[in-house]
């Protein structure tokens, strides 16, 4: 098989509007928004989470980390020259991270910004490892794909080919995440009998905007149904997400599940993060259509769709005539 042939199954998704380049745009801006919201929340309690006065002091956390894990301590000598010592060094790093997130949301120099956000995110993780949870883990995954994915796809370049290959890899990782998570849940009895749903909704820190416990007490079957649904939605993810016919339904179910996590467990950051990842992985074409409807103008989607309509024919790349007319 020649290498050119590789581009056929990957880039030849001709009927998929906006799936080639727009996915990375959605991922970058979506991740940027979610992480910006998270960082605003962290700002309010930065002293408790990161730095010498944190509950678990960063200086100790950094010692526990393996040698290869970047942390604020790596930058300390440099920052000290600028008079940024102690808590100031952590405030500076976090401020820089927040500013870069704003740039990521605004799509300014997307690849460079993605790389810097990815690197600073690792630095922050290295100094506050003990306080990370699912959101931070998936942020790391998502930011890595933001770095890998090309931001632009000029005709004839490798970018479309690379973008679609990275997109496939990203889809693969999301599938692995859900299938393994679903299988791990199915190993215990709690998700089959609904106990897990009851416990998750009853945890004091995870108390959401809506208290669903009265409903679960009045109708015990609801907990069993929700638990069983979570198992099905996660384990059967690739079976229903890969075929285009069932994709909208499964994407809606996944989005619904993560909105539920936000609403009932107050894990809004994690819920929104997973929605962004799913939409970028499998729903970019629907998102592009939705954005077009919201914007009331088709102009925003033009570049995206034209790039995706490129038809690869081995040596030659042909583009729709309207593309040349516009140029």
């Amino acid at each position: 098989m020649s290498l050119d042939a590789i581009s056929f199954p990957v880039a030849g998704e001709r009927d998929s509007r906006g799936s080639l380049v727009s996915w990375s745009f959605l991922l970058r801006s979506g991740l940027g928004c979610v992480l910006l919201l998270q960082s605003l929340g962290v700002w309010l309690n930065l002293k408790e989470i990161m730095g010498p006065g944190a509950t678990f002091p960063s200086s100790v956390a950094e010692l526990v980390e393996p040698r290869w894990q970047p942390s604020v301590s790596w930058l300390t000598p440099l920052l000290a020259r600028a008079g940024l010592e102690g808590q100031k060094a952590y405030i500076f790093c976090f401020a820089l991270y927040t500013i870069l997130l704003v740039l990521l949301v605004l799509n300014i120099r997307p690849r460079l910004t993605s790389f810097l956000v990815f690197a600073l995110h690792l630095v922050i993780l290295g100094s506050s490892r003990f306080s990370i949870y699912g959101l931070d883990i998936f942020a790391n995954v998502g930011l890595f794909y933001c770095v890998l994915a090309p931001a632009k796809a000029p005709p004839g370049s490798n970018a479309i080919w690379r973008s679609s290959l990275v997109h496939r890899l990203f889809q693969f990782q999301i599938i692995v995440v859900y299938v393994t998570s679903g299988l791990a849940k199915s190993l215990g009895s709690q998700w089959w009998n609904g106990e897990a749903v009851w416990l998750a909704l009853g945890e004091p820190v995870l108390r959401g905007m809506v208290d669903a416990r009265p409903l679960l007490i009045a109708f015990p079957a609801v907990a069993r149904l929700v638990g069983f649904s979570v198992l099905i939605i996660e384990t059967a993810y690739p079976l229903f997400m890969l075929p285009k016919v069932t994709r909208p339904v499964w994407l809606s179910l996944i989005i619904g599940m993560h909105l539920g996590i936000g609403l009932f467990m107050n894990l809004w950051g994690f819920g929104l993060m997973m929605i962004v990842m799913n939409v970028a992985a499998f729903g970019s074409e629907y998102a592009v259509r939705l954005l077009e409807i919201i914007a009331g103008s088709r102009s925003k989607g033009v570049t995206v769709r034209q790039a995706s309509q490129a038809v690869f024919t081995g040596e030659q790349v042909t583009f729709p005539a309207e593309l040349h007319q516009r140029r």
């Binding site: 290498l3 590789i6 605003l40 929340g41 962290v42 309010l44 309690n45 408790e48 989470i49 006065g53 944190a54 509950t55 678990f56 393996p66 290869w68 894990q69 690792l122 506050s128 003990f130 306080s131 990370i132 949870y133 699912g134 790391n140 995954v141 890595f144 004839g156 370049s157 690379r162 496939r168 890899l169 693969f172 990782q173 692995v176 393994t180 998570s181 791990a184 849940k185 199915s186 190993l187 215990g188 709690q190 998700w191 106990e195 009851w198 416990l199 998750a200 009853g202 945890e203 820190v205 007490i217 907990a223 894990l267 040596e315 030659q316 790349v317 042909t318 583009f319 729709p320 040349h324």
Partner: protein
Amino acid sequence: MRAFTPTRTRMQPIYRALFFAFVLVQAALILVSSLAQRPWSFWKRGATAVDAYGALTGTVAMYTFFAPAVHPQWYVQVHAEGRPAYDEVLGSGMLSEEGALKTASIEDSFVRFSNIPLLLEFVSRQFFERHPEYKTVTITFGYYRIPSPTSWKRGERTSMTKSMEMTFQRFN
């Protein structure tokens, strides 16, 4: 429809081959690590490099959130005698929900590393730094016990079960 030939260099096939190989390796790492396997562990020097690369890029990870069971949530309670008496559950005074979640994650991490006394010591240090007026503090670690739906119906509510308690005294 017009057609054109893109600029192709000699490097392009090599570049594509390398990138394709990279994607295949990534996919293999994602799949294998999600099943809690580390087939590269026999490779002494390389194993650390693969682990480091995998951790930094989010490639080597396991995804077992709330699985196979939902574990009880931990709490750390700070109590100090004085005027006024100080009583607070760690994280409850956070200004944002994110702060409370991060505090819960810290408690969870210490449980995972089975080093609760160290956590309590750190909490006491932080407390003394912020509240110089107190001489002694008692830190309690425990978990929330959520009653079953049947017990809840009977009027039982979420309670705090004590596991460990340590008292710390200021020396300076």
